[in-house]
Symmetry: D2
């Protein structure tokens, strides 16, 4: 077993990046050297005898701890981006409008053998996102602070997937087409219908094929003693427009 691993007790989880030194928890101190001879599913004790379970590290588990600067995208939408664009996990992805960093983080996680370039013009947002990426231990994210409309001037045609979650999305569509590899996809995420239509029309005009607008809903079901019924925690988050450069 090698780091990183997770130490978990109920809702409390710690990310352990090295098997050396000590970890101070509110349940006592754990000697991290002990982890070297353990396996996933084993437990390790604090000096007070409180047990923590050892689990493999998965970055996604940490995304719920992200500091939030804006309403972030949800896994239902991330899943649709991956499935409908056919993301290969060794792609080069451009994410414009870092925000909280949720899209970049998920993409870096699922695209583990590739790279993600994320661009944000608001410095304070970029800083929060940087802390979030560090928390999740993601190393394949490249952060750029600046306006993507200018920053992208220096980009070549090399991206497999471009995702926009930003105000000036329509303006950036021609450049996105230019720097996208043949066979690659552009995805635009937007909470409003009128903006979604503007994106759809611009993508058609610029030459994208198979352009589609949709939204993804997750309907939860609760199974109680008296019976089963649907409910929703969240209904609408945003619309997705996707198109392909062929």
């Amino acid at each position: 077993m090698k780091p990183p691993v997770i130490l978990a007790r109920g809702k409390h989880t710690f990310l352990i990046e090295k098997f050396e030194g000590t970890l101070h928890t509110h349940d006592g101190i754990i000697n991290l050297e002990e982890l070297k001879n353990k396996r996933f599913g084993d437990e390790v004790e604090t000096h007070l005898g409180v047990k923590y379970k050892i689990l493999p590290y998965r970055a996604v588990d940490f995304f719920k701890h992200f500091k939030r600067s804006a309403t972030p995208i949800m896994p239902k939408d991330i899943g649709a981006i991956i499935a409908y664009t056919g993301l290969s996990p060794d792609s080069l992805i451009l994410d414009a409008g870092t925000g909280t960093g949720m899209i970049a983080a998920y993409m870096a996680y699922f695209n583990k053998y590739g790279e993600v370039v994320t661009v944000e013009k608001r410095k304070e947002f970029a800083k929060i996102a940087r802390d979030n990426f560090k928390l999740a231990g993601l190393k394949n994210i490249h952060q750029v602070v600046g306006d993507v409309l200018f920053v992208a001037e220096g980009f070549k045609r090399e991206f497999d997937l471009i995702i926009l979650d930003m105000k000036d999305d329509v303006k950036f569509i021609p450049k996105a087409y230019e720097i996208l590899n043949y066979g690659g996809h552009l995805v635009v995420y937007n909470p409003y219908i009128e903006a979604t239509r503007a994106v759809y029309e611009k993508m058609i005009k610029v030459g994208f094929r198979n352009v589609e607008s949709f939204e993804i809903l997750k309907i939860d079901y609760e199974h109680k003693r008296v019976g089963t019924r649907p409910f929703t925690r969240v209904w609408h988050t945003g619309f997705l427009v996707m198109g392909r450069k062929i």
Copy 2:
């Protein structure tokens, strides 16, 4: 540029696995040697002067050509499995109930640096799936023909994700728990509510945590000259129950 690549003209697509010999299309013959000096986005001509565009190969594009033995899962559901389980693309996945092979194929594609073991007891289904996997050029799928309730006797605790899309799903849940790594997920896909409840209750009983039932809907939007309106191509496909071994 190296193989495999796609040659595309309108709706016609060919998967090219080697840059040697010739390809006979209904538009004429293409000399595949010519591909060696081309780039993605370039075109190649048949001896009749008809042009085909060269695109990078993506297995997912081929899934729509799969021969179907049963109603297959859809990308909206595949995306949810990936996003909510936090699939790392170097996992060991067990898929029980191969059917058309759609789940195994998607998983093999997104889990490119890992492996998928898929088990099907009906020989004729397994054969169709084998042809489908070959069509898509997927090499990290291991097919087993047999009843998973017996076959899995020989399996060790080594799977990161187990997906069930089969009749006897409830019966297999205890074994699934046993052979799943700590931190791993079980996902059960089922079109009916009563069966979904039975799965949910068994998963709770066997010790799974964070067990959740839900369904994913995709609402399409059409942007016509007269206005925008929602429509659906497909509404309900199946319910997903997910739980984690912690």
Copy 3:
């Protein structure tokens, strides 16, 4: 038992308006005088011995036989109009944009002790609607052929409910406000989102209160031997915007 009644056999139904003379069916001839001494649920025989069941007449059962000139509104939407406006069944209703006549027919039916004025500028549509109203035996509908923007010049403030299903809906909103009684509602039905927004904004501007936009969905469930699952026959039909004059 008094007329009108329905004679039903499987899918074949006849509306009987008088208990005199004979009815020629493809199963033989029925002497309608015989109905005088029957009760609902009784049967009457043709001269060939084929039996028809006697049921009370309900106009709504006939709406499915309407000739259609455009995509008509559905009961789910009609029900919402009644329930959310609090329709009293002795109201004066204005229906602008007769179309197939479906809205006017449903409203005349549920507003049995009131009246419906329906206005349509396309003569051929008005004619189809007239035949439909006759088929359903509705007597409290007043048809006007003409452009409601002109026709309504002569209307006083006397309507309890106004429903618009027509192209120039936005233009008619100020006049609708004027001729609506205090406490009355305006409802606008429209399939497109952009048009719905324009209606919403105009209604706010003109002085309507409690203005709301929504759509009603009907999710069907099938209970099969293998289990229960949701499905939809129709997803989106149109949006409703409602507001009240207070």
Copy 4:
């Protein structure tokens, strides 16, 4: 103008049943004699000079003030009952499981020229409902306190519509069939899927035709300066099963 009328100021509304005496509001005293010479839309002043607008009385406006003993049905579901059963506003309706009284109240309102019999076995619920009916000024509701399984023994075949919102719904279905007129409908409202299925199967078995299970959803839309987007206040409330006696 005749009573009853509503006096409204902002969110404050009063139901005025006679045009005599005085009304004490927190804005001062209104001499109700003055209402005799007013019209809807006119205003009347308190002795402190505060103005109240005179609106026609609509019982439905009062339903939101009902005291609640259980989660009540919503207008979206009431509308579907009316529209899909084809309720004529001079029907005899049986409502079993009075609860808060919401179904009985809505039905009495829309079925203004008919009667509603509502049965509840829990005395304290019946009392709350009685107060609610009084608040809304509904006179065509007949309340029975007792178990409908016994109470209905004395009922004849005379109901046009029967609505069940009660625990023992399945047990009452055979009796409901018996006391329903030919052409009439039974509607069962239930929040859970398993119970919905049991009702559906029993209704088929007992002889109902056109039996259908469904649920009605209301999707709200908000039109903000930045754009339009869907949201939901309430998602699932309950399922409806409907069938007809033919």
